[in-house]
């Protein structure tokens, strides 16, 4: 009975929308994200450089790289720990092909040549990682991609001719074009915001496009998809390639924001923190990684002072992160976004009953 009622309400809603104009309904359905977008656009007006760079910039960059993981894990069922490595490789390639303080390694290409080169190499690596792990299933993916990520960390640490070993690259400038210095806080903020919003929108679009739907089918039942005639492995590898593009762009922004890259940008702890960001935010929706990144960046920036303020050792920050992660994994597997959804659903259902 209740089901029928909601169905009627639904058709009624569509009817009014057709008469009253699609636009207002579209606006009211996407109110939250539109408000967020407006807030982000106006954020530089109210925020100082510290908040622009250290909080908003980091949140969106880590969010983007984590988004590529969320896409693979949430829609493809493949938890790849190699996404930070893809991002790091893109960052390294920007330093190798572009400009850095190390003339004996860097090739000093202009940014419009170095950026595509870095993306192509990183995406090739991400696709290779996908091709390697796509043939195995589930839990093996974590093992293989973690092994890849850790190998890359040790490679950057001990390789001097290309990765400049322990010290990595410093003073990698963001480019100048259209007469703007994109390394300055406000332009950099808008550039990061543009790419973060773009990647969010593209992931949302792809998740509803035929490719994304097929990928979700592969996640839920690969054998049935195979039987229907889909090429399961090809879908998985294509998903890796797509995710690698997002991660690579995130990695380049990371280097421009940070002005340096070293093995510790791609270390095992960073790789794991990225998974934590994705899982804590929630793998079910592309906004999840950004929420997770915001929480992580806030904790990283302020937990030290907060821990000291309550009389604990500020250096135990990692323990705090680990405990928080454990709590989320144990009690809300779909992350903070999942908690929010459940609260919203409960509020809606109680609203409905009170109305009746």
């Amino acid at each position: 009975m209740a089901l029928l009622q909601t169905a009627q309400e639904g058709t009624l809603g569509v009817g009014t929308a057709q008469r009253g104009g699609d636009f207002s309904q579209w606006v009211s359905r996407h109110a939250a994200i539109l408000l967020l977008g407006l807030f982000m656009l106006l954020f530089p007006v109210i925020a100082n450089d510290f908040f622009l760079r250290q909080i908003a910039g980091w949140t969106m960059i880590l969010g983007m790289i984590a988004l590529s993981l969320t896409f693979l894990a949430g829609y493809g069922g493949m938890v790849s720990l190699a996404q930070m490595t893809v991002a790091g490789l893109a960052g390294y390639m920007i330093a190798v092909f572009g400009v850095s303080s190390l003339p004996k390694v860097s090739l000093f290409w202009p940014w419009w040549a170095a950026v595509p080169m870095a993306i192509v190499i990183a995406v090739a690596f991400g696709t290779l990682a996908g091709a390697l792990s796509a043939r195995t299933e589930g839990i093996y993916t974590i093992m293989i991609t973690l092994a890849l990520a850790t190998s890359f960390f040790y490679l950057t640490l001990q390789n001097w001719p290309i990765f400049n070993g322990f010290s990595g690259f410093t003073t990698i400038p963001a480019p100048h074009f259209f007469g703007v210095d994109w390394g300055a806080p406000v332009p950099l903020y808008y550039m990061i915001l543009f790419f973060a919003a773009l990647s969010y929108a593209v992931v949302l679009y792809v998740s509803r496009a035929p490719f994304g739907l097929a990928l979700q089918g592969v996640r839920d039942n690969p054998r049935r998809m195979e039987a229907i005639g889909y090429n399961v492995t090809a879908h998985r590898i294509a998903a890796y390639a797509f995710a690698a593009v997002i991660a690579a762009v995130g990695g380049i922004l990371l280097v421009w924001q940070n002005n340096q890259i070293s093995p510790f940008s791609v270390g095992v702890d960073v790789v794991i923190n990225l998974l934590i960001i994705a899982v804590v935010g929630g793998l079910g929706h592309p906004i999840g990684p950004f929420v997770g990144a915001l929480i992580y960046v806030f904790l990283r920036t302020f937990a030290l002072d907060a821990l000291v303020a309550v009389g604990l050792d500020g250096r135990r920050f990692q323990t705090l992160i680990g405990l928080g992660f454990l709590v989320i994994v144990l009690f809300s597997p779909d992350g903070v976004v999942g908690i929010w959804r459940r609260l919203r659903d409960r509020a809606r259902s109680s609203q409905r009953t009170s109305r009746r």
């Binding site: 195995t136 973690l146 040790y154 490679l155 390789n159 934590i276 135990r316 992660f325």
Partner: protein
């Protein structure tokens, strides 16, 4: 679907020799190539090198040292990876906190050795303390989320972060070296000729006694585990559990007890390996992820859940790492990485793994 148990031949009661004979009969050319390679390799190790060789590979002493270091390092990797693969095979649990257990065992062994002055007593303490942590993990957490592979793995990840942070708190970030006991100190002469002096006198290889002893211990442990798995009642239960957990528990065996036992044993082995690692190299921040990586690569190359596979993988990775460090300094990790990629491309289940 047994993966713990690498070779089909012995499982069917045919014995190893028969299986080898059949394999040679089926692949005569490959068998010949492998035989020639093995003979060449043995000659390379035992005989003094002609001058042409030294131009390409450098001094024989360097090569032999790298080879021996690789083999003994393989013994250490085997000790770490075998617990990892055993836990994975039986419980489908990828224990990403395995590296932390290794480091924890090493630190505990160091403390125990410091207090009592006995290196061997450290092994007992390391085994027991890591086994207790393992039991606690299995009993308090994994028992509650059986069959949820991904969640279990994420939990082990969270635990590894907490463990490593707490260990930095207690033992600090500096490297700790565990002293070799006096009775194992110093080099031992081996019958391998590394060079011939101009007077015609042969120079023999001297190699650290402790590394050879530990390698022998690793081999003994490996054979012991193989025997325990294949000849004892608990071993039969473990193999049955790997094949079909539910069936085993339906038959009235206490599967949960078995899980706790295996987790404790695997964790304890990792802890003992920690002391070996502390004696060979050193214990410090970051060694946990180093040995987690080693276990991952060894298990991926050797075959997931297979103990003979872990032995083979450990040997391959240990030798390739050491040879790589000597001959291609800047790319030595790429070598083990390439081995992993090739194995994954040709045999995704690992060299001795089963699909």
């Amino acid at each position: 679907m047994s993966t713990i148990f690498g070779d089909d031949g012995a499982a069917q009661g045919g014995g190893r020799g028969d299986a080898l004979g059949r394999w040679i009969g089926r692949h005569p050319i490959w068998a010949l190539i492998i035989a020639v390679a093995v003979i060449f390799f043995v000659w390379l190790v035992l005989a003094p090198w002609p001058t042409g060789f030294e131009d390409v590979l450098g001094k024989k002493l360097i090569f032999i040292n790298a080879l021996f270091n690789g083999i003994t390092l393989g013994g250490l990797y085997f000790l770490v990876a075998t617990g990892f693969t055993l836990i994975f095979g039986l419980m489908r649990n990828v224990n990403l906190a395995h590296g932390s257990l290794y480091l924890f065992g090493g630190y505990m062994g160091y403390e125990a050795g410091d207090l009592t002055g006995s290196w061997l007593f450290g092994y007992v303490i390391a085994f027991i303390s890591c086994a207790i942590v393992g039991i606690a993990m299995q009993f308090l957490i994994f028992r509650r989320m059986e069959g949820q592979d991904l969640r279990q793995t994420l939990v082990t990840l969270g635990l590894s972060i907490i463990f490593s942070d707490l260990m930095v708190w207690v033992w600090g970030g500096n490297a700790i070296q565990i002293d070799t006991p006096e009775y194992l100190e110093g080099p031992i002469a081996t019958p391998i000729i590394v060079a011939v002096k101009s007077s015609g006198e042969s120079v023999f290889l001297y190699y650290p006694r402790v590394r050879l002893v530990i390698f022998a211990a690793a081999v003994v442990i490996g054979i012991g585990m193989w025997l325990a798995l294949n000849r004892t009642r608990v071993g039969v239960m473990i193999r049955a559990g790997v094949d079909d957990r539910d069936m085993l528990s339906v038959l009235g065996y206490r599967v949960q007890l078995l899980f706790v036992l295996v987790f404790a044993f695997g964790a304890g082995l990792a802890g003992m390996a920690g002391i070996v690692g502390g004696t060979f190299q050193s214990l410090s921040l970051g060694e946990d992820s180093h040995f987690l990586l080693a276990s991952l690569v060894v298990v991926i190359v050797g075959g997931m859940g297979s103990i003979p596979g872990a032995a083979l993988g450990a040997l391959i990775i240990g030798v390739s790492e050491q040879i790589g460090t000597v001959y291609f300094q800047n790319y030595s990790t790429v070598l083990s990485f390439l081995i992993m990629v090739i194995v994954l491309a040709l045999r995704p289940q690992g060299l001795l793994g089963r699909q």
